[in-house]
Every structure is written in structure tokens, then in C-alpha cells.
Subunit: 488 residues, 2 copies
């Protein structure tokens, strides 16, 4: 244990304890690793202290103290970022400000279809509270048990229901934010329409805590979709999958809730991990998982799905398909889809790329990126899956079985990322469709964004946080590097 008595650091810690209480301020004397290392153990930093305020007033007091003393602040929700966005750097100079104690749901208004809540409420608790009121909160991502709504908003989370309901950005109506100077902006409006000038909430959504700390939000709820129908279908290639998607939109319109693409190697990983059989027999190169949902009758929705699949078989878009006969089978199909990511982590040796392109270019992207990767790393398994309905695929080449994870990543990791992201950029796509930027993808932005765009981002950052104390080093490439930025 470091002895900090009498040091400036100890004075800071004492002052922070004065705001949040000693039980909610961890410092060098305690174990901070739950807050200074991300949940996958990839990004490890150090902190002056971990501070867990109980409410907005305490957050504001902590921020004011830090602003006065030039102490950087890393806001943290459930610490489930994949890109190191929520952990501090190694200097030990920053505090981590965890929203974990702020978990009150203040209001559920079923008639206005809104919920007002603290930033620290877990996504799981949000969904449960909505359901208890007969409403749906549609955000659906793997980490729902740990991730917090404030983090979901700060990173503009995506997931498997974006096709019908939009990204997190589209699900937010109002925010309360503690600004870098410790002032509180109360923008907790619960309105569908409000055209009174600049819409400030959008500044903070996807800013990953670099412009302030989201402390409360008003989010949208939806009628509970009583009926759900799920199918798994085998298709020849992403081009056929795209045609199938068009058909689904035409037949099912807004009932189409999810349309997930899955490559054969991705399916194999998941089935191995689960010890399950494929929902569709035979060997096929590609699969899709389709979900329809509605507030109307189950029978009607089932008929709609069958009609769609029959049309697809007639047009030879689908090689084989299985429809979930009940909700348990539907859950099993989803489990197979959702297991892919964890199965891949356990197997080791994946290069994870989270790209999007205009939907019409998905087939072209998959083909070109596959060729690029196989030229670079012959034998790599093309684990490709994700939210094709949104133009977003997780394109995650996996080591050949005969190559170790460490060797594969050392020899090919960086090159594969560059190749895949480069293809996405070339097709006017995004190198981070839903995972955000954090620290891991920050400097890649220099290759895909123009100097003008990065300077604009810095203009807002500087205007709100002139001393660069809010989550410094994240999202924005350093000012000094902008001269190197591409100019698309």
C-alpha cells in the first residue's frame, strides 16, 4: 500500500471522500481493478481514485472539484466497452467516476411511452421495468446484465433490434448532463417534437463521456409486441440474403424486427460451443435469422412469416428454412446467434471488425474483404455475422485451426484490420458501426475521416472542455495528428 498521507494526491482523495463518503471512494489502499481494467482484461490503466457518487449533485460536486484541480475524469458505466473507452490510461492521474450507485427509475409513463431514469440503471433492469408496465424497451445487446443505460447512450449502442427500433440515439428523448465545468444541463424533456433550436442531446450521445457525464435520461418505450415469429434460413451467399431481406421488407413491412446474417464458420463455432445441432440440416455456406414481431395476433404473424418464406423458396432465394414452432425454439435460435461472440473469444485468435456499408454494397464488401483476408492469411476461417438489416456485419476472421491465437494475431492481426476497414471505407462504409471508438480505434479515424471533420469535433470539445479533462485521450485523435488525416 502506497503511503499517500500528506501528499497532494491524498488531499484530493480526502476531498472526494468528503463529497461521496469513504465507502464510495476507492483509492490506492483498495482494489480498483474492477474499474481500471475492462471486463475482457484487454485495456488496463490506473486511477488516483474510483468515485461512486449517489446522485447528480454529488457528480457535479466531484466534477467541480476536479475542474478546479485539473484532475482528469473517466466516466464509467458497466465497464463493458469493447474498445477501452471507459478505463483510464496508465498514468494514475485520473479518477474513474462510476455511475453504479445511480440506479433509480424515476418515472414510467405508459401513455407517453417514456421512462425517466438514472444513468446507472442496467439495461436489464430497464427492460424489466418497461415490461412490468406492459411496454417494450427495445435495445437488445449481449451485455444487458451489466451495461448501464448511461453507457448505452454515451456509446450509442446498437444490437439486434435496430432494424425496427433504431439505435440508442433514436431511443433517447431527453438528457441531464453534468458538464466539464460542473454545471448541470437539465434537458430531461419527454417530447416527440421540440424544435427550439440546437438539439443538444445529440452532442452527448456517442461522445463516450468526452463532453460531460450523462446522469439522467428520458427514453422511449413501445407497445409490447405480444407476437413474435422467428425463422432460420440457409442461403447461397450475401447477395441472396440481400434479396431475401428485400422480400421480408415487402411482405412484413415494419413487423420485420431483426435480420441477422451468419456465415457457416460462425455457425459452426456456436454449435460446437453449445453442443447443439443446426436448426437447418445439411451444409450451407450462409444463414440468416429472421424475426418478425407485432402487437397483433400470433397466428397472423406466423402466417406472414410462412408466406414470406414460401415466396423466398419460390424465388429460389432460400435453400432451406426452419420456423420456430414456439417461443422456446425461438429462444434457441437466438441463443445460437448470440453465442457466436463468446465462442469466438474462448477459441481465441479472432480479428474483430465491426463495419457497416450501404446495404446494397454488402455482397460486394463481403466478397472483397474475404479475398483480401485469405490472401493475407490463407486458411483463416471467415467468421462473419451480424445485423445485415442495418448494413452492419461483424467481420471477424479467425485463425486456422492449426495456427495458435498468438501467432495468428501477431502475424496477421494488424494487417487484417487494415484490409477489412479499408474495404469498408472504400465502399463509403464505417469502421465502427456500433462499438464506438474508445481508445482502440481512435487513431484509425485519421485514415477514414477528413481533417475538416476531425477539426469540427475538436471545436466542440474545446468549447465545452477547454482543459481536456473529460475522458481525455478517447474518441478524438490528438490535435497534433490532424494534419495527417485523410481528406475524403
Amino acid at each position: 500500500m502506497t503511503n499517500m498521507n500528506g501528499t497532494v494526491e491524498q488531499q484530493h482523495v480526502d476531498a472526494l471522500i468528503g463529497i461521496v463518503g469513504s465507502g464510495n471512494c476507492l483509492s490506492a489502499g483498495g482494489d480498483m481493478t474492477g474499474y481500471t481494467v475492462d471486463y475482457r482484461g484487454i485495456f488496463a490503466g490506473a486511477a488516483l481514485a474510483v468515485v461512486r457518487p449517489a446522485n447528480t449533485a454529488e457528480v457535479a460536486a466531484v466534477v467541480r472539484y476536479c475542474a478546479r484541480h485539473g484532475i482528469p475524469i473517466v466516466p464509467q458505466g458497466g465497464n463493458t466497452s469493447l474498445l477501452g473507452g471507459a478505463v483510464p490510461d496508465g498514468s494514475g492521474k485520473a479518477i474513474v467516476l462510476s455511475l453504479v450507485r445511480m440506479k433509480t427509475i424515476h418515472e414510467v409513463d405508459p401513455q407517453n411511452n417514456t421512462m425517466t431514469l438514472d444513468a446507472g440503471v442496467t439495461l436489464h433492469a430497464v427492460r424489466e421495468a418497461a415490461e412490468a408496465a406492459g411496454r417494450l424497451f427495445p435495445l437488445r445487446i449481449g451485455s444487458e446484465g451489466s451495461c448501464q443505460i448511461g453507457g448505452n447512450i454515451s456509446t450509442n449502442a446498437g444490437g439486434t433490434a435496430v432494424l425496427r427500433y433504431g439505435n440508442m440515439r433514436e431511443l433517447v428523448l431527453g438528457l441531464e448532463v453534468v458538464l466539464p465545468d460542473g454545471e448541470v444541463w437539465n434537458g430531461l424533456r419527454a417530447l416527440r417534437k421540440d424544435n427550439t433550436g440546437y438539439d443538444l442531446k445529440h452532442w452527448f450521445i456517442s461522445a463516450e463521456g468526452t463532453l460531460g457525464i450523462i446522469t439522467r435520461a428520458v427514453i422511449k418505450l413501445f407497445p409490447w409486441p405480444a407476437a413474435r415469429a422467428v425463422a432460420f434460413a440457409a442461403v447461397a451467399d450475401p447477395g441472396q440474403a440481400l434479396k431475401l431481406l428485400d422480400l421480408c421488407k415487402q411482405k412484413a413491412d415494419t413487423c420485420l424486427t431483426a435480420f441477422e446474417l451468419i456465415s457457416a464458420p460462425a455457425l459452426a463455432l456456436s454449435l460446437d460451443a453449445l453442443g447443439e445441432d443446426a436448426p437447418v440440416s445439411g451444409d450451407h455456406p450462409w444463414y440468416v435469422l429472421i424475426e418478425l414481431s407485432s402487437g397483433q395476433g400470433q397466428a397472423q404473424l406466423d402466417a406472414m412469416l410462412l408466406d414470406t418464406l414460401e415466396g423466398a423458396i419460390e424465388q429460389a432465394l432460400v435453400m432451406d428454412a426452419a420456423v420456430a414452432a414456439n417461443q422456446a425454439q425461438a429462444e434457441r435460435m437466438w441463443l445460437i446467434r448470440e453465442e457466436i461472440s463468446d465462442a469466438q473469444t474462448r477459441t481465441g485468435g479472432s480479428v474483430r471488425c465491426d463495419i457497416s456499408v450501404p446495404l446494397s454494397r454488402i455482397p460486394e464488401f463481403v466478397q472483397a474483404a474475404t479475398e483480401d483476408v485469405l490472401r493475407e492469411a490463407p486458411g483463416a476461417r471467415m467468421v462473419v455475422y451480424g445485423h445485415m438489416g442495418d448494413g452492419n456485419v461483424h467481420f471477424n476472421p479467425l485463425r486456422p485451426e492449426s495456427t495458435s491465437a498468438a501467432d495468428f494475431l501477431a502475424s496477421h492481426g494488424a494487417a487484417i484490420t487494415r484490409l477489412v476497414d479499408g474495404r469498408a471505407a472504400q465502399l463509403n462504409g464505417s469502421i465502427s458501426a456500433e462499438h464506438g471508438i474508445g481508445i482502440a480505434k481512435r487513431d484509425e479515424l485519421l485514415h477514414v475521416k477528413s481533417r475538416v471533420e476531425l477539426q469540427l469535433a475538436w471545436a466542440l470539445k474545446r468549447a465545452l472542455d477547454p482543459r481536456n479533462l473529460m475522458n481525455p485521450g478517447k474518441v478524438l485523435p490528438p490535435v497534433g495528428s490532424l494534419a495527417d488525416a485523410g481528406t475524403p
Copy 2:
């Protein structure tokens, strides 16, 4: 004609002619009133010149010239703003930069459901081009023949299909903007998901040209909704209308496209103007117009609407209802709804308030605001109509028949605005749900926004436009007035 030969003004005009050509630069020698006065003739200003660039490069050259010489710029689309947002002040120092010549549709991608187009394309042309590709562009507002997509984006237009499709903000995927220093930001992405840091497009949407000039956009298209079913129903009061709305959501889910409230005096005005009979016989205090639409069959949608209305009659939510038997009847019902605004203009003596509140508080708002207004102006006719499904009503008290328009507005205009907007603010609502701020509502923001919020807006404005040359005087209350702002 003023002789400007040799003056600084003439030098500026000559330089601008050098960029856009003499045919596209009107100055003191020509009639500029089509650009310096709004279409209703309420806001009249003066300009140094009206400049009509042909493309982004010319816009950028004009902006660079003006930046160098400190010349203010008022960007203008179809000049259909209701709040004076697109006309210059009376000083004659600013130029009007009209996007009228930039009307190219660059790409329609039906598979990606996107259109890439110049800012000056009229909304009508957008909708036609979408339809020609079998797609819907859903924005629906009265001025579609004249208003331009750039103006729709700059003001975040709303209209009658927001309930299903969202505001203009939700319909934009990418933008190209000429910034106040004349640099061009190319953010023309056609992606549903792109989480690469700050989402700059949202800064410019609803900024009414105060942060830059939108020159191109990528907008979302939707499957063409082949089936449409429309009904007109009489209800006892807004509380019953709200219950009917809940029932519609439950029965029709996302097929519910519009839900418009209409008060009896609003209906009477429109029917008089059109020489039509009411779609529902008898005298009723309130009405709603309901539209369902879908890509599925007409018969199915008709059955859904009938089922909904039968449920409503069973629950005594509806006193009487008429269903459009064909598309011609549906158009007629819509015409009755859409005529209200013009009928009111012709009658004269309306105080127009465009408010929103949380949906659950609409009945409370209507009752309280009605009582307030009738206390202030006994005999005023309560013309109330609009997009109840979005929590947005146009609450437009009209002079008693026996009072002249001029007398009514002089005696009660300001007081009624204050009362109605005050009620909206008290119920956590908005004083401009869809019309924007322009010049007319600018200083009202001091009563309904906090100092913190207005200072944040100025922080961005100052960062991007430090010399305040882009549409100066619009949207943002003067910095000197912020100390007076309310602190909700």
C-alpha cells in the same frame, strides 16, 4: 435605382457576380422582394444582394468571400418559414444565399433505401423521385411544392407522418455542409449505423443555417405503402381522443401513420372554406383523423381499421365515425384537415401557437390553455388541430366573429401567446414543436430555456462562427440577454 458604382458595396456585388455570374446575383438594381420578404409578407428585410450559386464549389467561394469581408449570410431555401428564419434583417448588409438552383438528385438507391440530392430540390420533387423508384419519402407538410429539402433539414420539419416515420432529423443519414469559414464538410454517408465519434450532422439539423449551409444530403426512403386506410371520428374531448390513440396503437401497431386532432371550430373553418359537409354528421366538439398504412394488403388494413373503430365504439371512445371507402374519399378527408391553416390565414385574427407536451398531458394542456385564453379573450374561437399522436397541437385561438382581426391581435395577441406557451412550458412542453425559432420566437427562449442551455448553444455557435456571420440574429437570443434566462 441606387448608384453603387465605385462603392464598397458595388465591389462586393462585382466580386459575387464573378463567382455566380450576373444572372444569378440580384442587387439594388433588381427586385429582391421574393427573397427579402417571407411568403406570408410578415417579415420584410433588405439585402446587399441575392446570390444563387449553382453548386457546392460556388457556395464555398461565396462564403469564403463573405468571411473575408465580414458580410453576413442568410441561407434560404423555399422561403416558407413561418417565423422569419430565412429573410435578412432591415440593415441591407447581409446577402441572401439562395439554394434554388441546386436541384439535382444525384442518386436513388432503392436497395439501400436512400436518396442523395442537392439542398435545393423541392420536397415535392423528392417525393416524386422516390415514388418513381417504388419508394416513399414520408415527410408531408403543406408547403411541399415550394419548400426545399435543405430548408426541411435546417428546420427539422415535422408534419403529418411523424408518428410513424419521425421528424426530418430521423430521415437524414448524411450531409454536406459549407462551414462559416468556407471549408466544406463532406459527411455524405448513407449508413444506418456509424458510431465513429461525434455525429456532426445533428449539429446542423434544426440550426436554421446559423452554423453553416447545407448543400447536399443523403435521406432515408421507405418501402412504398401500397395500402392506406383513413377514417374520421367524432370524440367527446381530448381525453377520449387520447384513449382512442392508445387503442389505435394497440390494434394497428406501426401501421398507425397519422392521428390528427381537430376541434369543432377548426373543422367549421375548413368546411366553410371548401364548401364541404363534415365527414361525420351531427354536432360534435372534437374530431380525429386516423390514417393507417402498410405494404400489406388493402383488405387486411381495412379490416384492421374497422376492428379498431368497432373496439372504440364498444368502449364508447367514439361518438360516430366515417371510414373512407376509397382513395378519393381519403384525399377529401385529408383536404379538410389540411385546409384549416389556409382558411385561418384568410379569416385573419389568429394567434398561432405550435406547442407540444408529453402525450399523457395533452388533455390537461388543452383544458387549461382554453380556460386561460377565454378568460383573456372571451368569445375567442378555439381553433385547435394537429399531430396529437406526437403530442403536438397547433393551438390557434381565433378572434370572435364580431371582432376585427387587427383589434383582436392588438388587444390579445401577445397575451394569448404568453398564456399558451406558458402552459406548455409549465407541463414540460415545447413552445415550438415543429416550426422552429427563426427571429419570431427567438427571445421567447429566454423564458423557457435555462441559461446553461443557451450558453451551450452559444459555445458551439462561437466555435464554428466566431464572427457571427451565418444567419445572424436567428435562433439564439443575444448573448447579452442570457443573464435574464430562466433556470428551469
